[in-house]
Amino acid sequence: MINLHNVTKMYSEDAVALKNISFAVKSGEFVSIVGQSGTGKSTIIKILIAEERPTKGQVEIGDWDITRIRAGDIPMLRRQIGVVFQDLKLLPAMTAYENIAFALEVVGALPRRIKEVVPQVLRIVGLEDKAHRYPLQLSGGEQQRVVIARALVHRPKIFLADEPTGNLDALNTREIIDILKKINSFGTTVVLVTHNREVVNQLRRRVITLNGGEIMSDHENGKYVL
């Protein structure tokens, strides 16, 4: 599903974020990427959605070599990947429902489809009863669940989450991880970047540990080793 071959990313001469990274993620896997701050975790996510390009190496999504993807094809790539960033917030002037609908409107979805999909994804994150609240009327955990719902509107085959539990307490973190597990159980490949030791240890799934831009370990049933 996801294939990285000898990927190196240098933001500049002296800012090497990734050094010769290779790994593959199979369809339906749930992979956690952990590592200290500044080891290139977010950089991997950004390369996967073509927000950044690798300096060297090759990147494949499915059968698609996106190493040198044309700018005009990037929207097509992103409609197949759901992504959640910590800084990617909801639009405050729109309700939860409208925020999710917005993601469908801007890709030209028909109103009929919007009416069908938005309640579906709200149900997945368990917020169908709060659809018409504005972000400020939702808790931090609920906001994050709306963000996840928004990333699901294209029914992506791949779901990338960069520290989705960043500011959340243990209970909300649990809920978010449960949602990710649910998404994974539909057959979606999930890549989770996290700092959270508990989360990783409880997941008992594959863990890739990065250190200084290199892969330090890669274990099925991994533990948080730093």
């Binding site: 959605i49 929207p75 409609r79 993601a103 801007v106 890709v107 928004r150």
Partner: protein
């Protein structure tokens, strides 16, 4: 396609609404700069009219001595007509001058009697030479100063005209360069303000832009609302400017009517005749400016 367009329009209206005061301030400034442009246009039309009025009155009148025959005068006329700078040469033969004189004094028996007594026509023929361009009069005068003409010409009057012409020319040039200067200053300010406003507008929407990009909106969908907003901006600025211009002309027109008594200069008419061109050019200019600003402002955020 239509659906996307409707969404783009809705988004752009929301954007306009969110930066309402900034938008109003920018449109006001755009209107001010367009007004100075229109002032230059109007001044151009007025000074053009003034020059035409004076130019039509200007000619070099050449009075020939009475003993010079009509044939000789006609020969001079033909020579003059062959010169490229000469537009027209009006010819009043000796008889014409006499008839005109008689006509003017037909109620005065003394004058008619003395003319009768004189027996012959005391008037010489007259040529009124007009040039295509007031700058060319000195050339014509120089030509008439040749020795062979000196003997047959009694008098020619042009000294005053030369002064008037040069004054008009200077005035015209001064008005034009002043107007262009003011328009230029306003233009530069307007360009800077528009660029800045567009950048602020795009900046306030960077969150939306990033979300749009990450959920797979095409770059044209991201640009669309800003382009449509540029269209609204340009349209609003041009329409409001046109309204102010026509209102202003409505009040100014009576003064012109008094100023140019016999020549009718209708500025409103001038504007109406050229409205498509004048305001069309202004609309296109503003749209080009705003659209280009948004193009570059959005590009920064499209890289993600």
């Amino acid at each position: 396609m239509f659906l996307s367009f409707a969404r783009v329009v809705r988004l752009s209206l929301q954007q306009f609404h969110r930066n309402l005061w900034l938008s109003i301030a920018t449109i006001t400034l755009l209107i001010l700069s367009l007004l100075t442009v229109n002032l230059v246009v109007a001044l151009g039309a007025v000074s053009q009219a003034a020059v035409t009025v004076v130019q039509d009155k200007i000619d070099v009148s050449v009075y020939f001595k009475p003993e010079v025959s009509n044939e000789e005068v006609e020969q001079v006329r033909n020579t003059l007509l062959k010169r490229s700078e000469v537009k027209e040469v009006a010819y009043i033969p000796k008889e014409g001058a006499l008839a005109r004189f008689k006509e003017r004094h037909k109620d005065d028996p003394v004058i008619s009697e003395s003319l009768q007594e004189l027996g012959e026509n005391p008037f010489g023929a007259t040529l009124a030479v007009s040039a295509h361009d007031p700058e060319q009069y000195p050339k014509i005068i120089e030509f008439l100063e040749a020795p062979e003409y000196k003997e047959i010409i009694e008098e020619k009057n042009f000294e005053d005209h030369r002064l008037v012409i040069s004054r008009i020319n200077t005035l015209m040039r001064n008005i034009r360069s002043f107007g262009l200067g003011v328009a230029g200053v306003f233009g530069v300010i307007a360009i800077l303000v528009v660029i800045n406003t567009v950048r602020v507008a795009v900046y306030t929407h960077r969150g939306e832009i990033r979300i749009m990009r990450l959920v797979g909106a095409s770059s044209w969908f991201v640009r669309g609302p800003f382009l449509f907003e540029a269209l609204l901006f340009s349209f609003a600025a041009t329409i409001l400017t046109a309204a102010v211009v026509y209102l202003g002309l409505y009040f100014v027109q009576p003064h012109f009517d008094r100023l140019f008594e016999n020549v009718s200069l209708s500025l409103i008419g001038y504007y109406s005749a050229n409205a498509i061109f004048i305001f069309g050019a202004q609309f296109v200019g503003i749209f080009f400016l705003t659209a280009l600003s948004s193009f570059f402002a959005v590009r920064r955020y499209l890289r993600v």
